[in-house]
Amino acid sequence: MDAINALVALTNYVIIPATSYGAQLALGALGVTLVYAILRFSNFAHGDTMAFGTAITILMTWIIQQAGLSLGPLPTALLALPIGIVLTAGFALLTDRIVYRHYRKIRASPVVMVMVSVGVMFVMNALTRIVISVFSVPILGAREAVSGVDEIQFADGARFLISARDFRDWTGLAEPLALRATSVITVVTTVIVVVALFWFLNRTRAGKSMRAFSDNEDLALLSGINPARVVAITWIIAAALATIAGTLYGLDKSFKAFNYFQLLLPIFAAAIVGGIGNPVGAVVGGFIIAFSEVGITYAWKKVMGYILPAWEPSGLVQLLSTDYKFAVSFTILIIVLIFRPTGLFKGKTI
């Protein structure tokens, strides 16, 4: 019984949260890694692209809700997601046309491109806040309208697959277990997206031309690959990944325009740990970072108490206080950069 309790506690507080968080990081890291592979710079604006995409998706969700449509037990946001992706992709292409294309033309060094993306990041963050607050007025009415810094909950439909109280009533175990619908949706969506992306990169002509472009730009150009097309496809995919990741994160937690900026560090850590430029690495890296963050800041007291009752720890058995959650991604980032700069899956060297 104690072993089951330990397993339940571990699942409830470590495995489930870390898995859904890891899936969100994996999607974010995939976007960063693709932009790095094709366009050859670290896109700092990716976090705020996620915020922008999510904001658009939320606005669409509200419109759909008011039209009376819903997906039953699934959140309406999933219905709004395709529209969010299209608009965000359009916005990303526009940004490329106005900003990045110029710097590509003058063959700016990667450091300059990174700084440019920092500028884009600030503009996007401001735009996100303006867009969500301004458009919420006609959609929700002046009274219900939100401000750009508000925390917004937009998850509807069923909240739990297994709720903590029900689980306890069913099993009679001391430890509760909750499985939220959004966690499951996050993981399932991530699996679908990752499979589709790998199929696209490995099986389609456009995907192959992207990989060729990434491996050797000059050779790709010589063999007649249209660079403008590759760049455009990259932005569209990156924007789609960002919107999906952002929306899943928002559904699972809540949407706040500033929160996505904070996700940037773990996302980059995930991409670099896995090997930046390598899609498989991004996915694995996302889960490594998520499980380390949650596992290292988890207080193991209860689980230890169940497994080794004789030992009965008096302290919390917590390696790091939760205040230092972000220090975990930082530390992993530094260790990987020192000892294995190409990451676990032979990505590019930063």
């Binding site: 109280r165 949650v294 207080a299 007291k301 209860k302």
Partner: protein, 394 residues
Amino acid sequence: MKKLLLATATVALSAGATYADDVKLGILLGYTGPLESLAPGMTAGAEMAIKEISDSGKFMDGSTVTAVRADSTCIDAGAATSAGERLITVDGVKGIMGAMCSGATTAVLQNVAMANGMVMISPSATSPALSQMEDDGLFFRTAPSDARQGAVMADIVMDHDIKSVALTYTNNDYGKGLADSFQRSFEEKGGEVTIVAAHEDGKGDYSAEVAALASAGGDALVVAGYVDQGGSGILRGALDTGAFYTFVLPDGMVASALEENFGDELDGSFGQIPAAEGEGKDKFLAIAEENGFDGSQVYASEAYDAAALMLLAMQAAGSTDPSVYKDKIMQIANGPGEKILPGELGHALDLIAAGDAIDYDGGSAVDFVGGGESAGTFREIEITDGKIETVQYR
């Protein structure tokens, strides 16, 4: 300022009493500085009490009282000290209603009031540090110390028969101070705090924080945070994972947003907020309106009470000498005797003159504890059927 003095003097004259003396009372508040917006309401409150007593003609054989204002600023201890010095040496005040911020109050108390044996009653200094400070029995305050809420919360938790709690606080002075004082009093009463963990506001994800709190365990979770910030994130995470079902919610968490966001999920949780509500407050609001200002401004009723207490103590001692009347303040504030509410100061003066005991309650239900600071009233709440219900006042 001049106008006001003139007005006060005119009022005093038009009262037409054959007055024996004119007693000056210093009003030392931060008219400039970061809390300057609070000063006008507090001044109005204090001057209303002074006028009421002065106009009654029953104070110290018909003496009048005049208010003298001075600027304590809020952050400049030097300016506060010299303002206090000026009140005592130049204006010759018999007592100081002030100062405003805890820092300025400490400076004036230590540098001026104690050196000159002057009584100070602050309506708004809430730092717990002032409770421990040596003051020769000269310092009082009509606002409760920040440490008080922690003690009250510990009492409430104990009354619910909960002996072990996990504690999380928002990582700032408010959260830390409240968490510290709660932990101290709860452990003194024999309770156990299994974990004390800070949380940052404005994060998207609190699952790691909730996981740590859950592992430490406890019968309830104390959330010393803000309802529109991380506090709600913690509540949401703890409810979703089934980590805790009972929550203890101090003032930062008790708001209507709680009902909107959580509804009956929080049933059985409880908490408290500082609330000077009741008959005294209502009366104060009414007479403030008659006098043309908004009595609900922060610390306005506390300022009224501070000025009234000082003058009633003088009446009881039969002397305006601070070293004599300072000993009467506790007695006036705590009774026993007839309860005195705002607007009844004339009646109180009569009672004292006749040798009857009074228990001054005023607009903020004054009741001094420790070395002369307001116990404050707290409204204990409980969440029933998704609504915040008042259980009792403490």
